[in-house]
Amino acid sequence: MSTVVESHDHGHHGPAKGLSRWLFTTNHKDIGTLYLWFSFIMLFIGGAMAMVIRAELFQPGLQIVQPEFFNQMTTNHGLIMVFGVIMPAFVGLANWMLPMQIGAPDMALPRLNNLSFWLLPMAFGILISTLFMPEGGPNFGWTFYAPLSTTYAPSTVNFFIFSVHVMGVSSILGSINIITTIFNMRAPGMTLMKMPLFVWSWLITAYLLIAVMPVLAGVVTMMLMDINFGTSFFNAAGGGDPVLFQHVFWFFGHPEVYIMILPAFGIVSHIIETFSRKPIFGYSSMVYAMASIAILSFVVWAHHMFTVGMPLAGELFFMYSTMLIAIPTGVKVFNWVATMFRGSITFETPMLFSIAFVALFTIGGFSGLMLAIVPADFQYHDTYFVVAHFHYVLVPGALFGIIAGAYYWLPKWTGNMYDETLGKLHFWLTFISVNVTFFPMHFVGLAGMPRRYPDYALQFADFNALISVGAFMFGLTQLLFLFIVIKTIRSGKQAKPEVWEGAGDLGLEWTLSSPPPYHSFTVQPQVK
């Protein structure tokens, strides 16, 4: 086979032309781009569903949609945002940045990489197609509690199960690739404790994914058996146990929420050090904090189930373990603040999003801490207080992390600077609308409005109207983001290799040209 090597023409190592470039690509940047665009499109689809929800909730009464369709909207909104927006966006960023940050030419397993991506459009194609079937799509919440999702589900639940399986395979393959890349392809001299924090965050996330995606696959398979093959895992009439479903689901589900935030921790750490012009404070405690969050996330799952009727000892155990997670999380926040302290700070768009991330994610952390207090959780559980909590950690948390990362690396990817004025405008509109949308949800929740309600009592009307206005504003604002991204791809001031002042010392990615060569590092750099 040595002849193959001879015919290898090193002059033609650019991308293939046309559609086949994207269908058959094994290049980490192309695949990263695919992931990012996929997630961007899903953000608008899932966002449109949120708009339907908020339009219906603008006033009490049923005006726009019927409860059956409303339930399909909340369910698919949740599923799409979690599995179709946040997770693929992080994988996209990993694909682009990991090889560049560790000094590698590409990911370790490029063909697998192609497969992991192309599974996703199929999975979501299947999921979304159920909305057009006569019985309608999944309507049992993104947590799909049995028996509502088994005995009482529309028959399209089988498509849902299949699509969850496909998403799971995609995530597992992606994680294997990431772990392999990080362990085998680091530049000489880059020891584990010299890895950039984004690389660390993804290494930990990838292990979490490999650990819990099979659990998710297990639980949907049990559902499949109950629905089609006469088993009774979750069917009380057949001797099964509906609570077992929740234990298995949340054993996946809680680590899943950290899967959705750890990479954002990594991104934000880089941005804060760049724009504070000062190395990240407490690098090693940042790494240990992420590792302890990941480990603890396996022993807190039942904090989602405080009202299912657990023994007292169980309730207390899960309360304490959940409170423990606040420690490493707090450490991270303190470290970010200490990084800013005595820095030399500028406020470019990525930094603005990161500052907002630290502040608002912390608010989500506080409400999380309140939710951990079992007796108080009896009052909070399944109300809008919970909706406020998880949106604070997911939207100004995970999503802001992603947006910040996009602004931070966009000049590197495209070779063009984005428009700073528009970026700042995007930030302020987003920041205001996010708070107008999600902050009042705390109050309607405390006042007693349960979640997943298409209609509500009159005393919640004022705040719901305000929330809906905020939501429409948030939705519209993201069109501006789309515009900015397209504008940057097409034109803009030429970006230097280091892009940001002083970033050249901060990571290997800033030593490459902007845009970087197709095979990032063909010669491994030496890390001191």
Partner: protein, 382 residues
């Protein structure tokens, strides 16, 4: 631009203060209700303690952060220092965080132990969540009833103005005595529901196959309104909880009346019913119990909920019709009604669906009587 920036910055600081002052006042509509029981009051206090601890930590962290952002901005010539760790500082704040958490955990544990108590009550009530209504049964007296939303569909659809207790009113509230330990045994009939009364701080999932317990002891008479808080299908938002707490004498009278009614019901079963009587009774029963799925005109919502108009079962198969009502259809949303309702109710609704709409002309004209249901039950018991 600079002016706008200033306004924004002010807004960032003012907003939280504004909002927390809303929360601050105890009687606020936007905070957790204090409630009426000892447990609900302890939980409210705990909630406020934890809230204020978070506010204080927040103020400290955010002031340091925003002060640093202000003080060390490059535009004012700040030059970055070059430190990237401080061992004792890091140990210090880790320990401090741990201590604060322990401080929070102590009262939380106390309140939890207070709230968690599954000793028998003086009155024990079995609460069963159904799609989409609650059933209450007084275990000592063996009487029970369903509690349905009483807000009209016209209000929901906006055809008439919404009443004061829109979506928070039922046809028959649960009645409990004051100053009595009442224990709730909570279960589900079909999917998982969750029974919540904020003023008692009781929220327990109603899970098929499980019986969860909760308890309360209400000092003052009053009407307390709550909700179902676990997604249970289409009408999840339309199955509120209403509890009426009354003095002991009034409660005893209420139970006596229920017992008498139940006795009357038993007598009715043996009475000879005419078609018209059955139809009249069946119509009301149908409207409250079947119309949610099969619709008032019997047309259903195919393919999810089949039409009863023109259904072969309703037209010509009365035996199967009885069986479906008594046993439900396994693996579908069609529940078994036999265990929860009287023979008279079942017979009348079957007769009604066989005679109403166009079914009367097109069907076999069979009338199902309470005696037929008794006969069916006896056959099954053999």
């Amino acid at each position: 631009m600079a002016y706008i920036k200033k306004v924004f910055t002010k807004l960032i600081f003012v907003m939280p203060v504004l909002f927390s002052s809303l929360v601050f006042s105890e009687s606020s509509d936007y905070n957790m209700p204090v409630g009426v029981t000892e447990v609900s009051e302890s939980i409210f206090e705990l909630h406020m303690v934890i809230f204020w601890i978070c506010v204080v930590i927040g103020i400290i962290v955010f002031s340091i952060m925003f002060w640093s952002l202000w003080k060390y901005r490059k535009s004012k010539g700040a030059v970055a220092a070059d430190f990237d760790d401080n061992f004792w500082l890091e140990i210090g704040w880790t320990v401090a965080a741990t201590l604060v958490l322990v401080w929070m955990a102590v009262p939380s544990t106390q309140v939890m132990v207070e709230a968690y108590d599954d000793a028998e009550g003086e009155i024990n009530i079995l609460i069963t969540g159904h799609q989409w209504k609650w059933h209450y049964e007084y275990l000592e007296d063996e009487v029970g009833f369903f509690s349905n939303l009483s807000t009209s569909q016209e209000q929901i659809d906006g055809e008439v103005p919404k009443g004061e207790f829109y979506l928070r009113e039922v046809d028959e509230p649960l009645v409990i005595p004051t100053n009595t330990r009442v224990r709730f045994l909570i279960t589900g009939n079909d999917v998982i529901h969750s029974w919540w009364v904020p003023d008692f701080a009781v929220k327990q999932d109603a899970i098929p196959g499980f019986i969860n317990t909760a308890w309360t002891n209400v000092p003052e008479p009053g009407i307390f309104r709550g909700a179902c808080t676990e997604l249970c299908g289409i009408k999840h938002a339309f199955m509120p909880v209403v509890v009426r707490a009354v003095e002991r004498e009034e409660f005893d009278a209420f139970i006596a009346e229920k017992v008498a009614l139940a006795e009357e019901e038993r007598l009715l079963t043996s009475k000879v019913w005419t078609k018209e009587e059955l139809m009249a009774r069946g119509e009301g029963f149908y409207a409250t119990n079947c119309a949610a799925c099969h619709q008032a005109g019997g047309q259903g919502i195919p393919p999810v909920f089949p039409a009863l108009v023109g259904s072969q079962i309703a037209l010509s198969d009365s035996a199967r019709h009885i069986e479906i009502l008594m046993e439900g259809v396994q693996g579908s949303a069609m529940a078994a009604f036999g265990d929860s309702y009287s023979e008279v109710d079942i017979a009348s609704v079957i007769t009604y669906t066989r005679q109403a709409w166009s079914n009367g002309e097109n069907g076999d004209g069979v009338i199902v009587t309470p005696q037929d249901i008794v006969a069916y039950k006896n056959r099954i018991d053999l």
